[in-house]
């Protein structure tokens, strides 16, 4: 991530497009240069060779008559490049004939031995392209040379005519590219404006006219995010309202009962009110504990898991809650044949089992039966809590696990959080929960099942 000020997309695109265009142009120019030079060399070389051939043919007939000592013949200048073309004819080692612009020395040093063909030589600071050949007779050498600068100037002229319009067109092209990119990124700009103009709290979906297909995933992702945040905020708002409601209720009860105790003159009635005040305190304590459990669960999504023996763990929970059952004249049974290990967090699984057994005791009438079993079959471990209580209506069992949902008319003062905790713990352990009617006891049956651990099966 770049920490500097953000670069403009428009600027980037224009720069990139122009850089590519200029690069391609330069490459084209370079190719033109090499190609033109090669073609030019071939063409002009062939002209040199042809000129030499003409000279050779002429010399064969005229050599003897015009054998004047190195005298220059001014070949007529028929073209603007003509002065740059020169020839020399040597006869028996002497310069027999040369054009006026030809140097007095041999175009190719002869002491190195005579070679026919093309050569590039430096004479008096000038570069020459020379074609050497034998005349009709053995002792006649013909040199036709051309100054390299003429070739360069031709080449330049060719390149010039190609590059000049390009160079002229470049600023125009830059403008055109800038305009095109400006038009192209308009939807982006519109989206940016629409986002900038949104109030910070707004969570309604972003709608921009004429967005491009590339922007659709972006806008969709953004709208999805807004929606999720909205849902989250709504659920948080509801949670806060519900939590306030649930926390106030026991406090209201404590306060009222305490005031009743204060105002009561009858001793027995006052003791009664004080006892109820304590009940309210217990309820508030339980609610706060449940809230804390839930918030810890939600804060720490991945607790450490280790091999846990479900049988031992559930047995302890049942033992812990047995006095409650006895107090309500309920029968609480525990059944498990063998150790059942599964990967889990002991404290959380204890909370899960305690909530389920506690619910069964709480919402079953006196003299009801509550049976807790730990079973395993086919590598799966199951905790089953059944009761002979009234069970649940279909609509109510679907709402179990909503925070603060309490089965209406149950007359019990639960926190409404037990099932939220159970579901959360089950999710953390990847356990499945099934709620139905107990075939054996007639009341509610809660099955919690999951993949067993190493020692199981």
């Amino acid at each position: 991530m770049n920490n500097g000020p953000p670069t403009s997309l428009q600027g980037r695109l224009v720069t990139l497009v122009l850089a590519v265009v200029v690069t391609v142009w330069l490459a084209t120019a370079a190719m033109t240069w090499f190609d033109a030079r090669h073609e030019l060399d071939e063409l002009l070389d062939s002209h040199l060779a042809q000129a030499a051939a003409l000279l050779v043919v002429q010399q064969t007939h005229e050599m003897h008559e015009i054998d004047r000592d190195g005298e220059g013949i001014d070949a007529p200048s028929l073209h603007r490049y003509a002065p740059k073309v020169a020839f020399q004819v040597f006869h028996e080692g002497r310069l027999a004939l040369r054009s006026a612009n030809a140097p007095a020395v041999a175009l190719v040093e002869r002491d190195k031995g005579f070679k026919t063909g093309f050569a590039t030589v430096q004479i008096a600071g000038l570069t020459w392209r020379v074609f050497a050949t034998h005349g009709g007779e053995r002792d006649v050498q013909v040199y036709v040379g051309e100054q390299a600068s003429s070739r360069a100037s031709i080449l330049w002229a060719v390149l010039h005519s190609t590059l000049w319009p390009m160079a002229l067109a470049l600023p125009l092209l830059a403008l055109a590219v800038w305009w095109a990119v400006y038009q192209g990124v308009k939807p982006m700009r519109r989206l940016g404006r629409a986002l900038a103009e949104r109030p910070a709290q707004a969570l309604h979906p972003v709608r921009v006219e004429g967005i491009t297909s590339e922007m659709v995933p972006m806008v969709n992702a953004l709208n999805g995010l807004f929606e999720r945040i909205g849902t989250l905020l709504e659920s948080e708002r509801r949670f806060t309202a519900d939590a306030a409601h649930e926390l106030r209720t026991p406090i209201a009860a404590i306060r009222v009962q305490a005031q009743v105790a204060l105002g009561e003159t009858d001793d027995a009635l006052r003791r009664d009110a004080l006892r109820r005040t304590l009940d309210g305190c217990d309820r508030a304590t339980r609610l706060v504990e449940q809230l804390l459990t839930l918030s810890r669960l939600e804060a720490n999504a991945t607790p450490t898991l280790a091999e846990v023996d479900l049988r031992t763990l559930v047995q302890q929970v049942v033992a812990e809650l047995a006095p409650r059952a006895i107090g309500k004249n309920q029968s609480l049974e525990f059944e498990a044949t063998e150790p059942c290990s599964l990967p889990g967090n002991e404290a959380l699984l204890v909370a899960l089992a305690r909530n389920l057994v506690d619910n069964a005791l709480r919402y079953s009438p006196p003299f009801a039966r509550v049976r807790v079993s730990v079973l395993q079959h086919a590598g799966r471990v199951e905790l089953l809590v059944e009761d002979s209580g009234p069970g649940l209506a279909e609509t109510d069992s679907r709402r179990l696990g909503e925070r603060f949902f309490r089965v209406p008319g149950s007359g019990e003062s639960g926190s409404g959080l037990g099932w939220s905790i159970v579901r959360r713990i089950a999710a953390v352990h990847q356990l499945e929960i099934e709620v139905n009617r107990s075939a054996a006891l007639g009341g509610l049956a809660v099955h919690v099942s999951g993949q067993g651990g190493r020692q199981t099966g």
């Binding site: 409601h245 106030r248 009962q257 005031q259 009743v260 105002g263 209406p408 007359g411």
Partner: protein
């Protein structure tokens, strides 16, 4: 004053009933919305304390139904929900007061008394008719500036008659105002209390309309 308490939480309901009784109210306690609506239609309560989150029928719905049926009974909504939209909605659909839990018992009683007083067009806390002054909060009665000792039932009967001054109330109506359910009312109880009130406050205060009931006129010109 006989009031209806609709509250599903056993601990709070129990406490409010006991506490309001200590403060001189006769409290009928119901635990669900349907019972609340039925009782409000059936009896002339001086006021009702309504929890919103009631089973079977939400408190708001109870209030809407009761108001639609034409009842003007003062309703105090008692709830743990303090969100402003909830409060506005509650007041809009006809609640007379909106109190957030937890509430002070004495404050609740004072608010109920104020609601009852206002429902009878009574701006002052104390009721005064001729030489008789009744203080509902202190539960005291004065005659020509002198305190008069009344039993709880006599006080309540006088309170009802003073609130409904210039209206003839039958014996049955008075019984309904004075006794919460489950209290055995002796057939001549009202006559006995009227007799005692006349003895303590003067025979001219309460008139008997033969065959109909009793009336406490505002002015003595008769």
């Amino acid at each position: 004053m006989r009031i209806l308490l609709a509250e599903d939480d056993p601990l709070i309901g129990e406490g409010l009933r006991a506490g309001l009784r200590q403060l001189g109210f006769h409290v009928d306690w119901v635990r669900d919305g349907e019972a609340a609506e039925r009782e409000l239609r059936a009896h002339p309560y001086a006021a009702a304390v309504l929890d919103l989150g009631l089973p079977l029928k939400d408190g708001m719905d109870v209030l809407i139904e009761v108001r639609r049926a034409g009842s003007a009974v003062p309703v105090l909504v008692l709830t743990a929900r303090d969100a402003v939209p909830d409060r506005i909605r509650g007041l809009n659909i006809g609640a007379d007061d909106y109190v957030i839990k937890p509430v002070d018992l004495h404050e609740l009683a004072a608010r109920l008394r104020a609601l009852i007083r206002r429902a009878h067009g009574q701006p002052q806390e104390r009721l005064r008719i001729r030489d008789v002054v009744l203080d509902p909060a202190a539960r005291t009665v004065q005659l020509e500036g002198e305190s008069v000792a009344l039993s709880a039932r006599e006080f309540d009967l006088l309170h009802v008659l003073m609130l409904h001054a210039d209206q003839v109330l039958s014996r049955e109506q008075l019984e309904q105002h004075l006794y919460s359910w489950g209290r055995e009312v002796e057939s001549n109880a009202i006559e006995v209390h009227i007799h005692n009130l006349r003895r303590k406050l003067g025979a001219a205060l309460i008139h008997t309309v033969r065959g109909v009931g009793y009336i406490l006129p505002r002015d003595s010109k008769k």
